[in-house]
Structure formats: structure tokens, C-alpha cells
């Protein structure tokens, strides 16, 4: 009765679009990654270079440093966002008057374009007319200057990202929390389990799919963060916030080094893929085993 033809037919437009606009460029980037292609080099055009780009990459301090910083950034924002998002979602499960208002206000940042987020935070942090430098100095005597303090710049990007994306995490967590069945939780409480135990042994395992998915989305986006940081600090001071997205943009465009930039991009993609693979294949299965043992 079920002919696969119709199934594939329904899938076809999706596959065609994804193939043309997704996979073709992807293969092209792989291809270019093996070429030495800088618009303004003395030798015109693409020169096949084998693995030279990668050979250069693995020794490129700038690149490796940037990867390290990006991973640190991703680790910080994802950890903070997941924990904060989970806890905040807990407070939203119960109804209380005014919940809808708070939730609407709180969800606002999700809707703002990354580039506008960068602009917003720049307005907030620029010395001279920003709020933060002025009041931090006035109330706490802290000299707050993104342009010269690497640590401040880094943590400001973290806070900015937390500001931007925690609401999203909270909402997905909330969706998960409202959807999980209530009976086992109540039953456990009746049986005398304390809150922490309920959380640890029931809520979190049941939430695992949502947690993993959200984790994946956040890691993926945190690793390619670009627009907002670019607008806020330009990657500065020096290279304190030059995350990999910005570095690649700089290599590909201002420095017109297409081949090298493609190689960098692929390596980052590779990193993300491996992380995603570990997350889904290993973590989700481990989680499943744990629960099925119970």
C-alpha cells in the first residue's frame, strides 16, 4: 500500500534545495581548501597546494589560539545558559499572576538580530555615552573599558550571549518541563523523595532529549558566533575576543585568502561535527542506558 515513491516525492523539494544551496557550496569549500588562492598574490589565480593549507593551519598560533578562545567562550556561555535556563524554567512551571508578562519581556532578546544585539551592547558599553562604564565607575570605581581590558571584553561577550540566548534555553526547557508527565514526580514525592532526588533521578533523565537538543543548538551557534561580537569589539582588544568566526571572516575577506579561509572553516566544521556526534551518539545512548537500568 505504501509506495516509497510518494515518500521520496514529498521529500524531493527539500532535498533539492538542501543539495543545491547546502551541499554544493560545502563541496566547493572542501575543494578550495586544497588550493592556494589569494587574490593579490604575485601568482594569479588558484594554485593547487595539496595539504599545504592544513600544514600551515596546524602550526598557526593565531588560528589555534582562536579555536581555544572560541571553545572557552562556548563552554562558558553554554554552561551558564543551560544551568540558568533550567533553573529559570523551573520557576515558570507553576502559574503565578503576571507570568505571561514576565515571559514576554524575558523572551525579547531572542527576537533581536545578532547584529542589533552587538549594536545595543556597544551603545551600552562604549565609554563616553554608555551606561555601564559610567555607573561602574561611579558606584564601584571600576574602570570599564572594552577596548583595553581583555578580560572585560571576553566576559562582556559572554554576558551578551547569555543575555541573548538564555531565554531560548529557558523556553525549550519550559516546553520540556510542561510536557513531561506529572504522575511519576508526584508519586516520588509521596514516596518521600526530596526535591533534589526528584530532579536528579526523574526530571533530568526525562528531560534528557530536550537538554541534549538544546545543548547541541547552543554549542553549534556559540562556536560560530560572529555578528554581535564583531560589532561590539571587532575581535579586540588585540585578539581577546577574536573568535573563530571573526578570524575566518578576516582571512577570507579583508585578506582575500580564500583557500586558507576555507581550510579553517572546514576544520571548525569538523570540530562541531565531532562534538555533535559525541553528544548524540554517546551521551544520548549513555543517558538511555542509565534510565533503562532503573
Amino acid at each position: 500500500m505504501r509506495s516509497n515513491r510518494m515518500g521520496w516525492g514529498l521529500l524531493a523539494p527539500t532535498l533539492i534545495i538542501l543539495g543545491i544551496f547546502g551541499l554544493l557550496p560545502f563541496f566547493y569549500v572542501i575543494y578550495v581548501g586544497f588550493f592556494d588562492w589569494n587574490v593579490f598574490s604575485a601568482e594569479v589565480g588558484r594554485q593547487f597546494a595539496g595539504a599545504d593549507n592544513y600544514r600551515r593551519l596546524v602550526f598557526d598560533e593565531e588560528f589555534l589560539g582562536s579555536v581555544g578562545r572560541t571553545l572557552l567562550f562556548a563552554f562558558c556561555v553554554v554552561t551558564i545558559e543551560m544551568i540558568l535556563g533550567f533553573l529559570l524554567a523551573q520557576t515558570l512551571v507553576r502559574d503565578f499572576p503576571g507570568k505571561a508578562v514576565f515571559r514576554t519581556i524575558y523572551a525579547l532578546p531572542i527576537m533581536i538580530a545578532p547584529i542589533a544585539v552587538g549594536a545595543t551592547w556597544k551603545l551600552l558599553t562604549i565609554p563616553g555615552f554608555g551606561l555601564l562604564p559610567y555607573y561602574l565607575d561611579k558606584w564601584f570605581g571600576i574602570e570599564y573599558q572594552l577596548g583595553s581590558h581583555s578580560g572585560q571584553a571576553f566576559w562582556t561577550t559572554v554576558v551578551m550571549d547569555v543575555w541573548h540566548w538564555t531565554p531560548f534555553v529557558t523556553l525549550t526547557m519550559l516546553a520540556g518541563l510542561t510536557a513531561i508527565p506529572k504522575e511519576p514526580l508526584e508519586q516520588a514525592q509521596v514516596d518521600g523523595a526530596n526535591r533534589f532526588q526528584v530532579l536528579r533521578f526523574l526530571t533530568i533523565p526525562m528531560m534528557m532529549p530536550v537538554i541534549i537538543t538544546t545543548l547541541f543548538i547552543r554549542i553549534m551557534d556559540a562556536l560560530r558566533v560572529m555578528d554581535e561580537v564583531f560589532l561590539l569589539t571587532g575581535g579586540g582588544p588585540a585578539n581577546a575576543t577574536r573568535y573563530i568566526g571573526i578570524l575566518i571572516w578576516r582571512v577570507v575577506f579583508p585578506q582575500t585568502n580564500y583557500g586558507y579561509g576555507s581550510a579553517m572553516s572546514l576544520l571548525v566544521l569538523y570540530m562541531t561535527l565531532v562534538l555533535a556526534f559525541l553528544l548524540f551518539s554517546v551521551l544520548s545512548r549513555v543517558g538511555k542506558q542509565n534510565t533503562s537500568e532503573k
Binding site: 515518500g7 544551496f21 547546502g22 554544493l24 532578546p109 527576537m111 568566526g245 555533535a276
Partner: protein, 282 residues
């Protein structure tokens, strides 16, 4: 659980959420304040409240036909993209859910990789694709809305399918079969059985796609020239105008936030319903 404790909890919740709201609103508030200041007023950092309103920051961009075109483009691109994506995603998830299509699941893992990679390096192949491959006489996909709409599908489709998969899977197959017995065709089932049941999920997927398309910057900047420019690229232009026109930039950012805000107010209830990523079946 005494009454006292839950009252305490309630107060705590309010304190917490008031603080969160302040934290959330502060940057936005400041943006609106800056957008109300003229250039000569800008450098007055201690001034937290704004009493005057420098309307020119808003009227300048809003009355400029170029800027109106940016807004129109953004609206058309984001809306078409969202509609296209949820339509295709509905088809695709239905297919994935009801037929056994060997290998199809794995394909999506690869296609979502486009969303994982740093975007910059992908601009060049897309530029070549848009200017070389899709070319018919004078027409090329560069600087057209359809180009951006199709391109954004690459980022939104896997995401939407992923979001919908669980929801469609959750619709009992018996409903399909009952309809089939009644003589309904597959299309009828799709829009009479599946569509209404998946509506919340479709809505949230549509909103998230809409948001992504409305907010996207890098590709829009690189793959459009003047005709299909979007509002985010317009925003970036203001950063570099001589004497950095912060007020106008803030105004544009505020304007770009408005449609999203309207959306949010109306649909925020459904966001929670739809965002489960199929974690739990009904």
C-alpha cells in the same frame, strides 16, 4: 508544603523575575534612549532618563525610500521563507514519519552542517552559485529576494524538520489509516488530519524561521546589492556613516525589533507548546 512556604516562594519568584526583566530590558531601554538623542546630546553618559525626543533619527530612515525598500524586502523574504520552509518541512517530515526511506534520516544530519560551519567561507561558493550557475540572460540570482529565500531554507529546513519530526511522529498512524479507509488521498490526509494537529509546531517552526531570516546579516550583505537589501544590512550601513550616527543606528535597530516584538506578544504562548523537539509524545 505549607501555605507560608509557597507564599515565600511566590515572593522569591517575583523578585527573581523582576531582576531578570531589568537585566533583559536594560540594553533595550538604553538603545531606545540613544535613539531619541541627537548627535550633540549623545555624550552625556550619566543621563539615565530621556525627556526630549529627537524624531529625526526615526523620520530620516523611515522617509527614505531606500530604507522602506529594505523593510519591505525583509518582510517579504522572512515571510516567504517561513511559509516555504514550513510547507516543505511538513511534506518532508510527513514523508519521513510515514514511509521507510532508507538513508533519509542521515541526510539531514549532513544538511544541518551548514548551520554549524562559520559562514564566511561559504559566501564565495554561494556568490559563484548565485552569479554563475543561476543565470538566465540578464537574470541572475545575485541581489534577488528569491535567492535569499531559497538560501535561508538551507539553514531553516533541517531545523524545522527536526522540530516537527516528533510532533508528526506523535500523531497516531491509525488516523491516517482510518482516513485512507474512508477513501481520502494522501494530500487530503495531509491537510485535513496532519495539518490541524501539527499546527502549534508549524507555527513555532514558522516563527523561528521567520526570525532567522529577518535577523540574518552576513549572507544578506554579501549576496545582495541594492534591490534585495534587508534591514540588517541597512543597520550595518549606519555604523560607518561619517561621525558614526549612533542615534540613527539605534533607531533603526529599534525599528527592526518592532515586528518581532509584535509577533512575540501574540504567539509567546505557543512557543512553549511547540518547542519540545519531539521530546515527549502527546
Amino acid at each position: 508544603m505549607g501555605k507560608k512556604r509557597s507564599n515565600l516562594g511566590l515572593i522569591g519568584t517575583y523578585i527573581l523575575w523582576t531582576m531578570m526583566s531589568i537585566f533583559t530590558l536594560l540594553p533595550i531601554y538604553w538603545m531606545v534612549v540613544v535613539s531619541a538623542r541627537s548627535r550633540v546630546e549623545l555624550f552625556s553618559p550619566g543621563k539615565f532618563w530621556q525627556t526630549t525626543f529627537y524624531a529625526q533619527n526615526y523620520t530620516n530612515p523611515l522617509t527614505s525610500p531606500a530604507f522602506q525598500r529594505y523593510i519591505a524586502n525583509s518582510l517579504i523574504i522572512a515571510t516567504s521563507n517561513a511559509l516555504l520552509v514550513i510547507t516543505l518541512a511538513l511534506f518532508a517530515t510527513y514523508a519521513l514519519s510515514r514511509w521507510k526511506l532508507n538513508g533519509a534520516d542521515n541526510i539531514f544530519f549532513w544538511t544541518i552542517t551548514n548551520r554549524m560551519a562559520p559562514a564566511a567561507a561559504f559566501i564565495l561558493p554561494l556568490f559563484l552559485l548565485f552569479t554563475r550557475a543561476f543565470k538566465l540572460g540578464d537574470f541572475m540570482m545575485f541581489d534577488t529576494r528569491i535567492g535569499l529565500i531559497l538560501l535561508y531554507c538551507v539553514f531553516n529546513l533541517p531545523f524545522a524538520i527536526w522540530l516537527l519530526k516528533g510532533i508528526i511522529d506523535g500523531i497516531p498512524i491509525e488516523l491516517d489509516e482510518a482516513a485512507l479507509v474512508d477513501g481520502a488521498g494522501r494530500w487530503t490526509i495531509l491537510y485535513r488530519v496532519i495539518l490541524p494537529l501539527a499546527a502549534p509546531g508549524l507555527a513555532i517552526a514558522g516563527i523561528l524561521c521567520w526570525m532567522f531570516a529577518w535577523n540574518e546579516y552576513l549572507f544578506a550583505a554579501a549576496l545582495t546589492s541594492t534591490r534585495a537589501r534587508t534591514i540588517t544590512t541597512g543597520l550595518a550601513e549606519f555604523v560607518t556613516v561619517t561621525g558614526t550616527n549612533w542615534g540613527e543606528m539605534a533607531a533603526v535597530a529599534t525599528i527592526s525589533l518592532l515586528p518581532a516584538l509584535i509577533f512575540l506578544v501574540f504567539v509567546q504562548k505557543y512557543i512553549v507548546m511547540g518547542l519540545t523537539f519531539g521530546a515527549v509524545k502527546e
